[in-house]
Symmetry: C2
């Protein structure tokens, strides 16, 4: 298997892009990534996207974005794994280069969720859950997470306040990220007084509906020095799955797909959780941040929130997370999120994360989740040495 | 790059499966393919599907089918490339094995289109076209093909009757395929008197809306002899794209993505069109069958229909096409079609195509198309010798 490196990155601001079409949003990120790598052409494009069919009446999206980015004719395929679609597309790009099928591959995550009203976006997001056993009962996606959070609080005796550290950290970091949707820090009081969305999930426990696109360019590691960008090596790429419906799982409070995926990634990279310099986790909900830390070996079960309470997840803590704002503050354009995580990890490993730079960042880990942990995709990156 | 072989195949009947859910339909094909290979587990599942989000309110489909097929935990990703989603999933599976990421991979194409009424299916199919420049004008997908057919007839002076050979051949072959939706041959008179759908496209010029699933198991070629199924080698796998909207193309009557994709495939396989034993082409419309033969080097431009008139596309002709009924008679469950083509090619190369066996079949070619030629994915297969 050929080693794979990232040689270019690009991203649009996350927000409400009412004046930009879905294809243009994707093409902007693709073009920016190509420019960063110092190239104009690529052999293939893999696009991560969840909702273009339901919210945009557009499929065959990868072909369309390839054309709009000036790449007509190249291989193009869209990957879907609900909110993990972005990382799923990266996985495909990595296999394309690793197999020798292609040398120069662009991967783009793109989503446009704000053109219709919120109830339509909410209904579309529910396609990430089990249509026949969960969605059919009328439960929206946020409520699945609310049930999980309530169960966690009950089972471990953890108060809602204990989760505050996750949104506080995310918004503190987002405040210094010019691409973030929310560039404003919040304080403890603001969290406590926030409007309830689905008890016990409040406004700051959940990520916003938004638009955005992020992209990277991949090539074989041995060719990475030919290009402009400071190369970052892909040390691990691992996908794992679980039952989609919460009730089908043996233990809903242990997200086994996250555990499996992270375990496979650690093995590929030859490191353990203690060596990870920072972790771009999938904090779509505060409860998922806590469960991610537990499933990936950073905290014992039921103790995920304590890492936040002890200040270990800040930029100078033991394990910085959501370093550019995470899903809550940078924003969560679902199919694009996995690629934002990767672009941010590359910025950290290049030492170009500005005010949000994690000191001595060596191993960066990203984890993108589909549904309430139905699919988990973990990548580990390292600054390329040779 | 590791060589890749197909060691198992599975398919459901094509038809209206109102008593079977989408996930079960997919799981049946996956289970059948695993059984054919003589195994119970796999490392990854790639699912080709176009419409589960719009018609089934279900995304994260690959994860769901993996679970339903007893494969919970494994890597699972869905591929989308409109009606070429099935072959797109195969492309991913091939790269996964070729790269060394996985040894045993299942690829499944699945679609369920008949649970809602036809107008909803028709609207969903239109997401294969350009939403902002074609669909917005209210044109359905069949009309795009009608415009193309009318232009072809005008430009080359070809009468509608000249296309009869395509549906006649497809239905003659479908009549002997127990998995086909329509198992009844039609005669010339029936074609001529058929109801008009979108002038000049009549009922037999277009493929039906239906449900179905087909799957294969892949492994490295050097391991293929360990398993039960008679192995077939993947000699070529190539994806190419074009502008999605017809008006954006330089010459609408030359499907350049098909030409590019076939050209790349011939190069990989080291053969030319004259060596292809049979061709499972994407005959969703009679006009596309003619244009496919021309774009892939089997007929000069404007002469595609003559191959049918001269009887060259029958089972004993120079280039048998649609050997098990094609999209018209076997049926066209869109995201599954590409995988039906592959399962049928494997049956031919194994010599197990029954009454539809192509004599001395050595090189089998399949081509799956997204939109009106926006995406084209060509595979070439050969019976494994060693």
């Amino acid at each position: 298997m050929r080693q794979v490196s990232i040689i270019g990155i690009g991203q649009t601001e996350v927000g409400e892009h009412w004046d930009v079409s879905l294809r243009d949003l994707g093409a902007r990120a693709v073009t920016a990534a190509l420019h960063d790598a110092g190239i104009e052409q690529a052999d293939a494009l893999y696009v991560g996207n969840m909702l273009s069919g339901t919210l945009g009446s557009q499929e065959q999206l990868a072909t369309l974005i390839a054309d709009w980015a000036g790449l007509r004719g190249i291989e193009a395929i869209k990957a879907e794994a609900a909110c993990a679609s972005g990382a799923a597309a990266l996985r495909l790009g990595i296999m394309a280069v690793a197999s020798g099928a292609h040398d120069l591959v662009v991967v783009c995550g793109v989503e446009k969720m704000t053109d219709l009203d919120g109830s339509e976006a909410s209904a579309a997001l529910m396609t990430a859950a089990d249509a026949e056993y969960e969605a059919i009962h009328g439960v929206p996606f946020v409520s699945l997470n609310a049930m999980l959070m309530r169960r966690y609080m009950h089972e471990y005796g953890v108060p809602h306040e204990a989760f505050a550290g996750f949104p506080l950290t995310a918004h503190a970091n987002g405040a210094r990220n010019p691409h973030a949707m929310f560039q404003k820090a919040i304080d403890h009081e603001t969290f406590l007084q926030a409007r309830m969305i689905a008890d016990p999930v409040n406004l700051f426990d959940s990520a916003p509906i938004c638009d955005g696109a992020a992209a990277v360019v991949l090539c074989p590691a041995e060719r990475a020095r030919e290009f402009a960008g400071q190369p970052v090596r892909v040390a691990a790429s691992a996908v794992a799955t679980d039952a989609v419906a919460l009730h089908d799982r043996q233990d809903p409070l242990f997200l086994s797909a996250l555990n499996l995926s992270a375990g496979r990634a650690y093995q590929q990279a030859g490191i353990g959780p203690e060596q990870v310099s920072f972790f771009e986790l999938h904090d779509a909900f505060s409860i998922i941040a806590a469960l991610s830390l537990e499933a990936c070996g950073f905290a014992p079960r039921g103790k995920g929130t304590e890492m936040a309470v002890r200040g270990e997840i800040g930029l100078h803590g033991r394990l910085p997370i959501s370093t550019m704002g995470g899903l809550k503050a940078r924003g969560h354009p679902v199919g694009a999120t996995g690629m934002y995580q990767v672009v941010e990890a590359v910025l950290q490993l290049r030492g170009l994360a500005g005010a949000n730079q994690v000191p001595n960042a060596r191993w960066g880990m990203t984890q993108n989740i589909g549904g309430v942990g139905g699919t988990a995709i973990t990548h580990i990156f390292e600054k390329q040495k040779d």
